[in-house]
Structure formats: C-alpha cells, structure tokens
Amino acid sequence: MTTVSLPPAGRARSGVRAGPALAAAGFAALVLLAAFPGALAPYAPDAVDPLHALSAPGGGHWLGSDQLGRDVFSRIVYGARPSLVIGVGATAVGVTAGTVLGLLAALSGPRVDAVLMRITDVLLAFPPLLLALLIVALSGPGIRNATLAVAVAVVPAYARILRAQALVVRRADYVQVATGLAIPWPRVVARHVLPNSVGPVLVLATIGLGESILAGAALSFLGLGPRPPSPEWGTMLSDGRDYLDQAWWIAVFPGLAVTAAVTALTALGRRLQTRVRDGAPR
C-alpha cells in the first residue's frame, strides 16, 4: 500500500514582522521619553551655553546645539512630553465626547439625531487643523487650549463613526433579546450597545493619535502651543527655521522626531485596524 502525503502548503508567517515591531518600538520609545526625560537627556532643556552655540552634531552635543547653545537632543527628549500630552489628551477628549454625542444621536430619536448630525456636518466641512487654529486663535495659546482645540476638531469624525456603529448594534438580535428579558434600557446600552459599538472608534483613535500629535506640533509651530522657552517639537522647528542655512540640525531633528512619532503611531493603528477587521481574538 502506497501512502501518499500532500504536505500542507507552508504559510509564510513566521516570527515577528519587522514593520509592526519597529512601530511598536517607536511608540515605546516615545512613551519612555515622555515619562523619564531627565534620565535620558544629557542636559537640561533650557541650559544655555553661548560658547557652544550653533555647534554641529557630534562631540559634546549629539544632535548639535541651537542659537543659544541649548542641546538639541535634550530638547527633543523633553519635547516628547508636551507633544504626547497634546496628542493623547486631544484624542482622549475627542473620543469621549465623540462617543457620547454619537450614542446620543443614534439612540435618542430622529430629531436629536438630525440636529447633532447637521452640526457635525458643518464642523466636518472645515479641515481639522483649520478648525483647531480657529479655536486657539479665539481662546488664546497654551498647551491646554491647544489640546482642547485639537480635541474639538476631531470630535465630529468620532461621533459619526460611533453613531453609524450604534445604529447597527441597536437593531442587533441580542439587543432585542435583552429587551425581551425586561432589562432596563440604560443597562442594555451600557452592557451591549456601547461595548459593541466602540471598537472601530478605538482603532481609529490610534491612528488619530498620530494626527493629533501632528496637529499639536503645527499649532506650536505657529506659536499657538506651549509658550517658549519650554521645549516642544513644533516650536523648535519654528525656531530653527531662521538658522536653516547655518545650522540645519536645529530644525531637521525635531522635524524627524515628529515624523517618526506620527509614522509609528499611524502604522500601529493601521495594523490594529486590520486585525480587528479580520476578526482576530479580542
């Protein structure tokens, strides 16, 4: 008797893939920088050293020093925190407000829904950054105002997505069953509707985190974020702009920091999105 084997077609999915791993490492580094800047930065962020102003990368200053002799690397390290605070804070506020508004719109009847959705329509008509700019311009610069401005700018998108999701879940059979068990409606919303609607919003939020950081840096670049001399990537970029022809490093390294942070977060978010969509175990 001959025994024939059809070997299983091998699946090329071995080990950890480089992309996501790199993104995760980048995010971890960002969190680390924001949490312990003092342990990682060789200098204080505002230590002025006029003797070594505008010195090139290498030697005493890994990434060079700026026009006042402040260490660029240390300032980037210390700049991680405000960037992250604006990004995370704005996303958190945006997601929370968006969730509440989306749930309200989906569950409180056609009139409330119509009013809320028309408002989001109007807000969505503006590019988020422009909207944030408008709000900060009205409320004045500063880290808190910048955070809130970015949050308001991202709320409509989250509200929209949550509403769409909740409209579907509200009609799901298991919600009907819960109603059939005489479970009070607020509890049905808390136990079934909200948890089953919020997934896509959370995934989007990881991508939005990167965008919020970028928006925060943009506001700072325009002088609407944290006030100088406190280090912030956008502010550093803006300062370095004037010295670009003599000392490129002052602007380029903070720019790279923003780019790397946003890329890492976006990549991570996309990866998460794919996994949730493909029904990976939660």
Partner: protein, 588 residues
C-alpha cells in the same frame, strides 16, 4: 478500516469510477493534530449514487473536500488509494487539481448564495468552468449555457442575465448545479445540496439530481438527512467520528441497520419516531375542524375539542385543552407590511390564532411566508400595523414598553439564527446569566453558576462550555445555548423560530423531547415555527399552515396531516422525502 468493507458493489459490475481506500485527513490546529477522517474507504460506479450520512463533525464534508484537493492548507491528506477512473488523484499538484475540478468532479454546496459570486451574472458563472477547461468558442459557450439552464429546469431566458440575489433559493441551487455539471464531470459531489431549501423546492432539486444520475453521472450525496439520502442513494455509508461505521444498499441499511449509530440516526428522524405512526388511513373523517378558509378578521374561534382521541397517541391528553380556559396568548387579525421600493409589501395579512397553556401550535410555511415576522410581532419586537396581540389577558401589542416590562419574561423566543442573538463579547455563562432573575451580587455567584449549569444540562451541554464565547461554539451548541437562555427566566410561552433546523437529528430529538417535557411538566405553551413538517408533526397539537402571509389552514395536527384540505398543504406534504424513509425502499 473499521466497519464492513464496501466490497460487494465493487465486485459486481465494472470497475468503480471512484475508488478511495484508507483516506486519512489530519488537521494541524495551532500545533495540535486533529484527525478528521480516519481511514475512509468508498467506491462509486458511474450512474450510481452513494449517500454519505453523518452528524456534523463526522468528517463527511472533509472527505468530500479531500476528493477535490480542497482540504485546506492546514490539512494533511493520506490515502492508500485515491483514484477517479484511471486517474490517480493522490499527489496531484495545484495545477493538476485545477484540471480535475469542474471537468472531472463537480461540486455543489449547501449555500448557493455564498457559492455564487454576487457581482457576476448567473450565465457568466455557469460559463466559467467552460471557459476555464474547454476549447469552446464564445457562441458554443453561450449555447451550452442555455442548454445547461434548460437541463436544470431554468427555462426563463432572462435568468442568465440576472445576478444571484435576483434568484430564489431553489433557482440559485439549480444554477449552481448547472455550473457544476457544465463540463460534464464524471462525478458530482453534492454536499448538503438541499438543506437550506424549503420542502417543495427540496423535492424538485432532488428530482433534478436523480435525472443527472440517470444520465450516467456518479453522484456522491452528502447529507445529515437520512430522508434525503434514502430518496436518491443506491448505497449509503454512515460516518461517525471520521470513520465509516456501516455501508450497504440503502434499503437494507434502513430496514436492517447493523451498527448502533445507524440505528440512532434512523430512530432520531422525527417521522420515524413513535408519535407519528405512519399516517393512518383510519383517521376519522375529520368533522372536527371546519374547513378553514383564510382567517377571517373575526375573533379567534376556540377550536372544537377533538371528537375522539382515536388514532392519536400520548400527545392527545395534553391536546384536549379545557375548552373554557382563557388562552395564554392570542393574536387577532395581525397585519404587517414592509415598505419596499415597489410599495408596501404585506408580510403578514390578517392572521389570528390562540395558544393555551401546555399547548404546542406548529406554524408551517416556506421561507417568505411571513412566519418570522409573525414571531417578531408576537414577541413584541415589532408592532403590527393592525390587529392585537394579547398575553395572559392583557394587551401586549400597541402598548408602551413600560407596560409590557413585567410580562416580558413570561414570553421568550428562540431565534432562527442563534449566533446573532448573542452578544459576541459575552461568554456562555454571561449570556445565560443575563436571562436569570434573582440576586446578581458577588455572593450569589456560585448559586447562579449552579442554575446555569442545570440549564445547560437540560439541553444536553456540559458545563465546560461556560467560559466559551458564541464564536467558539458549534451550530448545534449555539442553538442549545439559545434554548437554555430562553428557558432561564421561566417563561410560560415559548416562541421557537426554526429551533432545531440547524441541529443534527440526534440532538434534534433530544431538544424536541426537552420541549415536550417542559410542556408536560410546566404547562409551557409553545409556538413552534418550522419549515420541517416532520418535526412539526412530531411536537405539535395543532398546526397552522402559512402562505404569503396568510394562514391557509389550521387544525389538529393529525387531521391536517392525514387529510389536508388546502392545495398548498397537500403540496407541502407531498414534497417531504419522508415517505421514502418510512417505506424504507431506495429510490429507483
């Protein structure tokens, strides 16, 4: 190889077309090796039909897939012999398999809607295998598609230009069969080809398969339904846990089953079970039920009590409800329409019925007859456009939710699709726990778990399922969890929408017994909706036949089954493959 070898058919007559010996299929599941098929041997000659019967998980579908080289990436297929005609199927490469599929072996699956590409016209899909294998010119392909549509009984010339969703379930299955036989394969594998279809449509599809067989194609028919297999198969192989436990000519296997599992399968077919003695010609000339024309909008007349209980069995005592007792649930003149692009479509029209404690009313009808809409209305998940539902003497439809709340738990439903009725994030324990009353605190946890375990036990599930989530359950387990949940609040009325149609016959029998027991012991009233006449007949005291949103006939179960008054009821009854099983003769 366990079980008797399939030698006798092979020894007489010419060499078999399909010759499988010692087929093993193992799956590699996350490093764990699971043997799905363990040494299956089958032979099949041209123009013959071999039925493979077994419960879900018995390995019958995996066997079929292995014959097509479709067992999947994680499977390892080993076989002593795997031959089709004079071709050796073992060790074919991907390209060689593609050559075999469609041209030498055709495949028909249960779910035609899922098998057909929703974005391509039916004609193009039937032409697909012709283009892939044949050397036919474009005109010849078109002609062959028309011919094939004719062969499968789709004579409407516009069908080729339609999309799958524009066809009915039966038409889709026909189209799928047309594409499977397009290249005149020597072997057609049909995996549960009629399971998703209504009884009348099912009968016609089986006739079509019989014609294809008569034209000389070998047919490998896979089904959990002995009735279907008995109607078509010359030989039957019974599979259990990856092995063929018994094979033989259909007639002998049904009349004289050797293996315990075969007997179990036969015994579990509702029509073969005790309550239903073969339809007795001695049934009284049915004066009791006045010929029931489409329901009038008048209040429901209490049905006349059966004159005698002659000819009926155990169910009869429970059947005769005390005539003057108030019905637990009444529906009066229920009408419901849905808005469609072509105007309102009436789903339920002027339907009335009533249900007393301890009574089972079977509601029969094909898909689209309005059964499920009616169920939703009775469960107060939808409001009727007109008419009134009363529960326990109180208005149930058309009142604010607040006034329904204290009655909600007295009426529970078992959904047709249990998976969608579970919160996907919940575990079985949470799902059933939610339906329980009583204290929910931390201290009550053990008591609750005990209750849940008892409910699971009642539907034949082990407590190790408690931590599973719905997606980790099999179809049968989901259905049983749904039933356990429906029973958790201690309802007095149960609305079951196709509660057992997804289950294997042995589990089906178990659930039916459970429901019958609850009806007897607790006086549970059940509205039992199903397209499966055997099941309805087995459990119901009365039946109502629904068509196009109306109840066309109602009456005592036995009198309706023995002497159907309405043409449609007769058509339904004629379509059931049951007769083949009862008389235990193989189809010609």
């Amino acid at each position: 190889m366990t079980g008797p070898a399939m030698t006798d058919p092979a020894m007489t007559g010419p060499a078999p077309l399909l010759d499988v010996d010692e087929l093993h299929v193992d799956f590699d599941l996350a490093g764990r090796r699971v043997a799905a098929v363990r040494g299956v041997s089958l032979t099949l000659r041209a123009g013959q039909c071999l039925g493979v019967v077994g419960e879900s998980g018995s390995g019958k579908s995996v066997t079929a897939r292995a014959l097509l080289g479709l067992a999947g990436d994680t499977a390892t297929v080993r076989a002593g012999r795997l031959r089709l005609g004079d071709r050796d199927l073992s060790g074919l490469s991907g390209n060689e398999w593609r050559d075999v599929r469609g041209r030498e072996i055709g495949l028909v699956l249960q779910d035609a809607l899922a098998s057909l590409d929703p974005l391509r016209r039916v004609g193009a899909q039937i032409a697909g295998p012709l283009r892939a294998h044949g050397r036919l010119s474009r005109q010849d392909v078109d002609a062959r598609v028309r011919e094939l549509l004719g062969v499968v009984g789709l004579t409407d010339p516009t069908i080729a230009r339609r999309y799958p969703h524009q066809l009915s379930g039966g038409q889709r299955q026909r189209a799928l069969i047309a594409s499977a036989i397009a290249c005149r394969p020597a072997l057609l594998i049909a995996d549960e080809p009629t399971t998703a279809l209504d009884a009348t449509v099912q009968a016609r599809i089986l006739d079509l398969l019989a014609e294809i067989k008569a034209a000389g194609t070998a047919l490998l028919l896979i089904s959990h339904d002995l009735g279907v297999v008995a109607r078509l198969a010359d030989d039957v192989a019974v599979m259990h846990q990856g092995r063929v436990v018994e094979t033989g000519p259909t007639g002998r296997l049904l009349t004289d089953p050797q293996h315990a599992h075969t007997r179990e399968l036969i015994a579990a077919v509702p029509s073969a079970r005790p309550k239903v003695a073969p339809p007795s010609p001695l049934t009284p000339p049915t004066p009791p039920t006045p010929p029931t024309p489409p329901m009038s909008p008048s209040p429901p007349k209490p049905l006349p009590t059966p004159v005698t209980s002659s000819g009926t069995s155990s169910g009869a005592e429970a059947t005769s409800p005390i005539p003057d007792r108030q019905p637990l649930l009444t529906a009066d003149g229920i009408t419901k329409s849905f808005a469609t692009r072509r105007g309102p479509h009436p789903a339920v029209r002027d339907v009335s019925f009533h249900l007393q404690a301890g009574e089972v009313l079977g509601l029969v009808g094909e898909s689209g007859s309005g059964k499920s809409t009616l169920a939703r209305i009775v469960l107060a998940a939808a409001e009727p456009d007109a008419g009134q539902v009363t529960l326990d003497g109180r208005p149930w439809s058309g009142v604010p939710e607040r006034r329904r709340r204290d009655l909600r738990r007295t009426i529970q439903g078992v959904h047709q699709d249990p998976l969608s009725s579970f919160d996907p994030r919940f575990t079985v324990e949470q799902i059933i726990g939610e339906a329980l009353t009583g204290p929910t605190g931390h201290r009550a946890r053990d008591a609750r778990r005990e209750q849940i375990t008892a409910l699971l036990d009642g539907v034949g599930l082990a407590p190790d399922l408690l931590a599973r989530r719905p997606l980790e359950l099999s179809g049968g387990q989901r259905q049983r969890v749904a039933i356990a949940r429906a029973l958790a609040p201690g309802p007095r009325v149960l609305i079951c929408d196709e509660p057992v149609s997804a289950l294997d016959v042995t589990i089906q029998a178990q659930i039916l017994d459970l429901l019958a027991g609850l009806r007897r012991d607790r006086g549970l009233a059940i509205l039992f909706i199903s397209h499966d006449l055997d099941v309805v007949r087995h459990i119901s005291d009365r039946v109502a036949v629904m068509r196009d949103g109306r109840i066309v006939e109602t009456g005592e179960t036995e009198s309706v089954f023995a002497d159907p008054r309405h043409d449609y009821t007769r058509a339904l009854l004629d379509a059931v493959p049951r007769s083949a099983l009862l008389s235990a003769t193989p189809a010609p």
